[in-house]
Structure formats: C-alpha cells, structure tokens
Symmetry: C2
DNA sequence: ATAAAGGGTGCAATCGATTGCATGATTTTG
DNA sequence: CAAAATCATGCAATCGATTGCACCCTTTAT
C-alpha cells in the first residue's frame, strides 16, 4: 500500500507544529486555534488529501472506534438484518463493526472474544443465544461494555434488546385456537438456546390459559434439517395426534414442511404450521408460512444505540428494550381438518 | 474497559526488558532468546493473561491484520456464504474482516473505501458489481491490494474469483431446449452490474447457437420487486409469447413467480422458470426453483487465499479463478406446454 | 503604566508494541 | 591462550496521532 500523508507532513507544509494541525482538524479542539490558522490548515490538509490514521489515534486515545458483533451464523437469515441495523447506527457515528460467527460453539466464541479484545474493540453486541452464562460472566469480569440482542437476558449485567416472544407465541396460539385447533404440537429448539427456551415456556403457559392439549418435542438445533428429523420422528410415532404445529423458528417450520411432504401430509389441509421470525422469503415457501414477525433491523438499531450511549457515557438508557412483534397469517395455517 | 496487561507489565515481573518479552512471545523472534528465558517469560505471560494489543502492534508494523470486505447488501442471500468463506480463511491466518455494505451506491462505496483506508486495512475483497470502473481505478491508484469476487473482471488490475456464469447460462438453456422450448425470455438485471451483463451476453450467444427465439427485458435492480415489476409489464404486453424465462438471478426469478401468480399462470405448467445462484431456500419456494448453483462459500475462500498470498508476498497465484457451476433441476422447469 | 488575564502555539510525553544496533558474556577456533 | 565468532539481552528510536504544560504575545483591568 502507498504510504499515506501524516499529520507531520501537513505540519511541515503549513509551517506549524503537528499539535496545531491536530487541534485544527479536530472538531472539539479547533477552538484552541485561531480561526485563520484553522482555515489555512484545513485547506492544506484537503489539498494533500490527509486522512487520519485510525490505528495511531486509537493507540493514543484508547478507542478503536470498532465494535465486535457476535452472531451464531451469518447464513441464518435473521442475522443479516440485525447486522445491517447495527451497522447503520455505527457507521453514522464513526464506528465500524467486526462481525464474527460462533456456530454456537462456546469454544469458538471464547477464541473470538479474545481476538476481539486484542483488537481493542470499544464494545460488543452479542446475538448468540446460549443460556449457559459462563461467557456472559467472562465478558462482565473483563469490564467489557456490551449489549445483548435477540436473547433472553434477565438477571444479566448488560442491557438487552429483544422481541416480545411471549406475546408472539400467545398471538400464534390464539390464532390457532380461533381456527378451532385443540391439540397443538410445539417443535422447540434446543433449550440451551435462550430464545428456544423462552418460547417454549411461553407456549406452555399460553396453551394452559387457552385450554389446549399440547405436546412438545425438541430439535437438536435451530435448523431445517434438525426440524425435519424431529418432526419425522414425531409423525412416525404419533400420526395424526395433533392438528397444528408451532415451531420455535422459521427454519424448524421449514423442516416441518419437509417432514409433512415426506409423510404425504399437506399444510394446512392436514396440519397447520406456524413459524417464528418472519425470515426473508418465508412468504415464498410452499405453502407460504404463517409466522410471527420480529423487527430484526430495528433490534440491531436499538442495540447499537444502547451500546454507543453506554460507551460515550450518555444518559442512562433503559436496561431492557422489548420490541413488539406481529403475527403474519399466511397459507400454512387454516381451520381444523374435519375427520 | 479494564486496562489490560502490557508487555511492560510482563517485563517488570520477569525482570527483563520489554524487548526480550516481545521476542520471546513472537514465534519468529523467539530463537533470538535463550530457551530458558523464553520458557520463563511465556509462563509469566500466561499467568498474567497477557495478550498483545493489536492496535499498538499495527502502528509499529504497519499491518492491521484487517481486511475490508465490500458487498452490496448483506441481506442478499448470496453474500453471507461468501463472507463466511472469506472469514474462514482470514480467521485461520489471524486476520479479521470488516464487512461493509454499499447498497450499490457509488457514493457510499467511496465513503466506505475512505473509512477502510483510514482503518489501515491490509487489503480489500470487493464483491460489488458495478461495471463502472472508476472505483476500481481509484483502488488501484492508491496502491491497494485487492481481489474481486463474483464480478466480471477482465482488463482489471486485480485478481478475481468468479463462477462460470457463461457455462451456467449455457447449461440452463440447453436444459430448456431439451425440454422442447423454442421461445425463451431473459429477465436480465441492470447492465451496470457486471454479473447481469455477463449473463445477458452469454444468454444471447448460447440462444443463437441453440437456434432459440429470444426476448430480453431488464429489471432495474437484482431484487424480487424489480423482477416482479418487469415481468408484470412483459406479461401485460406480450402474453404467451414465450414458454420459458431465464432470470438473471434467483431474486428476479422469485419476482417472476409473483408476476405469474398475479396473472393466473403457473410454473412450470404454463411457463418454465429458471434462476441463477441456487440461493438458500430456493428449493423451498413454490414451486421449487430450477437454478444454476454457484459455489459461493468456495468463492469466498479462494478470494481470501488470493488476497493473503498477495499481501504476504507468496508465490504468484493465478490472476483469475473460475469456479464451476452446476444446473440444479427442480420443479419450476418442465416440458413445453401443449397449446 | 503595570499587572493580570487570556489567546495561540510549540514542546515533549504518551499510548504499546517491534526492531536495529550496541554491549557484555560465552563459546569456538586456530 | 588470544582472537573471533556467537549468543543473549538491553537501549532507544519508531510508528502517527493526542494532549498537558509552558511560553510568548496581546488585550484588558486597575
């Protein structure tokens, strides 16, 4: 790479000390320098195409203007919108995001955390969902500034931004109840993932309130294949014992579609299916998926705001932000089949 | 954030100079220090949980160990796999990726480029597809090390990694021809995007070779809605004038599905539809989409390898890597409808 | 008119690492 | 056994910015 213009280069050309150049170019310190000098130096800096070296600045100021964003897997379609939401706020405030993927491995998360710390990130946005709290404890011990997003976070020492999962599950079950469903299956994700466990609990509570008969099965991951495997197993063991399935997220719901197809069943004629997240393209599935829409982009936005306020020591913002979700009714849910 | 342990802290505890600690801890220089000292210092560094400050190191070594990855939009599903491919290589070599989104705006790309340069990135992986070359020229003028991925790159001063788009288009058209189609529409993306123009040219060439009658229309973006709008317009003006559509990518193909549905037409019974990319979940669309599968993850991997070799001055690697693509036949393509 | 106050700049330390050169200790060589 | 080579370590400069302090030169107040 070509070597860049430094403060010293500008200073030499302007016939002043580097400190004067530095002060002239920085908004907050420009007042310490005479207007004429500021104007002259800015002009010269422009001509020379000076641009600051963030690394050098970061060393001195102990701020890297970089935020670590920890997600399980960027190819899970709910994360790109979150990341872009985060990024939109960060960029406008001069920060950059370093996005890393853990693949839900605590070991990898640990290694990535160390790497982010070495890079002197100013804060962390954590979208990984392990209920296991050891990483959270570690983050906190290190005095890291962080915000949790898209994961249950009660009793945790960081602010958080979540969708209203309980309300979403309730809306979905009420929708099914209104359609006449009495026996509903919940295909839950692994309980080590906080979103999975929150939704599972909400399912149980709401179903009880609505007087529904329930079954719960668990997938080993929040993925299409795990959902398919779990649902296949269920259909083989208990054919026709439920009229609707509420899946822990859209990927699992997609797995349910696959399993139904394999067993010659159709949604919603034989069984209704509801997902969670309203991930991109869920309206294009076959059938289009009834699901709970969560505002992922906004979740990213809010979490970034929370983090920056924390970093820059602004007014104390709320510790926990819960964003509303909405049920999106599409083809995959329908009336109880007549037998 | 808690202040971290520095080399000086370790040096003081070990009773040696910082330079000795530095040499002991770095693989390449550890040979300059006696084995006993290295061992002792490493032990102490471990106990104190020393970890290097990448910012300080970067200032001195003029290497940030950071790579800028420029994509149009992370929520376009082909990019997460590319990014993860890039990341898998970078991480294993100690680099991190700074991913930025241009939303196909030259202005934004320009601003992001400056920001990446200020952050002293060691190189760039560029996945934006403007045929307009001014940005490329700028990159080159600045002496930046870069690799292009997923975009046509002939006559450009950087190495590149692309899928074999021409072969993919050919395979798709041959498939249609074999099914008896004679009149085929190409729904192209905007020609300012290089992948769109490459595919468009390949379409024309192959169709001529196969003796197909063709029409070409253009969408204003590579998006579902742009595809839908363009296809609606076509269907209103020229109903039933073609029996198949080859879309410039899967998003456009999805737009075609929407337009067909609106006009009461079905794929493949009324018209066959083929996409490009084999993006995630294209097998779950209604109908499942016949498409050309491009190895996005591997493209990311190869581009990262190319870039790192360039940065570390390894053996000259090939300037251009073309990865094979494969046609994936699914439900959306079928025999010519009988009239 | 003189002292105090304030404005504008420069000097030099600092952030935490890497690294060329110097130095002293030890080993090898003739 | 002396000279030379080698080894292990320390010293200090350096990367490019920011910033506390000192200084000089004008104003302003008394």
């Amino acid at each position: 790479m070509r070597s860049r213009v430094t403060l010293a280069d500008v200073a030499k050309r302007a016939g002043v000390n580097v400190s004067t150049v530095s002060r002239s170019l920085n908004q907050e310190t420009a007042g310490q320098v005479s207007k004429a000098t500021v104007k002259k130096i800015r002009k010269i800096a422009d001509e020379m195409q000076y641009s600051p070296n963030t690394v050098a600045r970061g060393l001195r100021t102990r701020k890297s203007m970089t935020i670590g964003v920890i997600v399980p897997d960027l190819t899970n379609p709910i994360f790109p919108p979150i990341v872009r939401g985060v990024d939109s706020v960060l960029f406008s405030r001069g920060y950059s995001a370093l996005v890393v993927n853990t693949d839900n491995s605590a070991e990898i998360e640990n290694a990535l955390f160390d790497s982010l710390m070495e890079r002197q990130v100013d804060g962390l946005i954590i979208a990984t969902g392990h209920t296991e709290r050891s990483m959270i404890a570690k983050y906190h011990n290190q005095g890291v500034k962080a915000v949790l997003v898209n994961r249950e976070a009660s009793g945790v020492p960081f602010p958080s931004v979540i969708g209203d999962d309980a309300a979403g599950i309730a809306a979905a079950l009420e929708h099914l109840a209104a359609l006449g469903h009495k026996k509903v299956l919940h295909l839950a994700g692994p309980t080590v993932l906080s979103t999975a466990s929150v939704r599972s609990i909400a399912f149980t509570n709401t179903a009880k309130r609505l007087g529904l008969t329930t079954k719960i099965i668990k997938a080993t991951a929040l993925s299409v294949s795990a959902g398919e495997i779990a649902m296949n197993k269920f259909l083989e063991a208990n054919p026709k014992s439920v009229t609707a399935v509420l899946a822990g997220n859209d990927l699992l719901a997609l797995g349910v579609f696959h399993a139904l197809r394999k067993h010659g069943l159709r949604a919603p004629q034989d069984i209704s299916v509801i997902g969670f997240n309203n991930m991109p393209f869920s309206e294009d599935f076959s059938p289009s998926l009834t699901t709970v829409s969560a505002p992922h982009f906004e979740m990213g936005v809010e979490s970034a705001r929370l983090l920056i306020n924390q970093i820059e020591g602004k007014v104390t913002s709320p510790r926990k932000i819960t964003l509303p979700v909405t049920l999106v009714v599409r083809e995959s849910s329908g009336p109880v089949p007549k037998r």
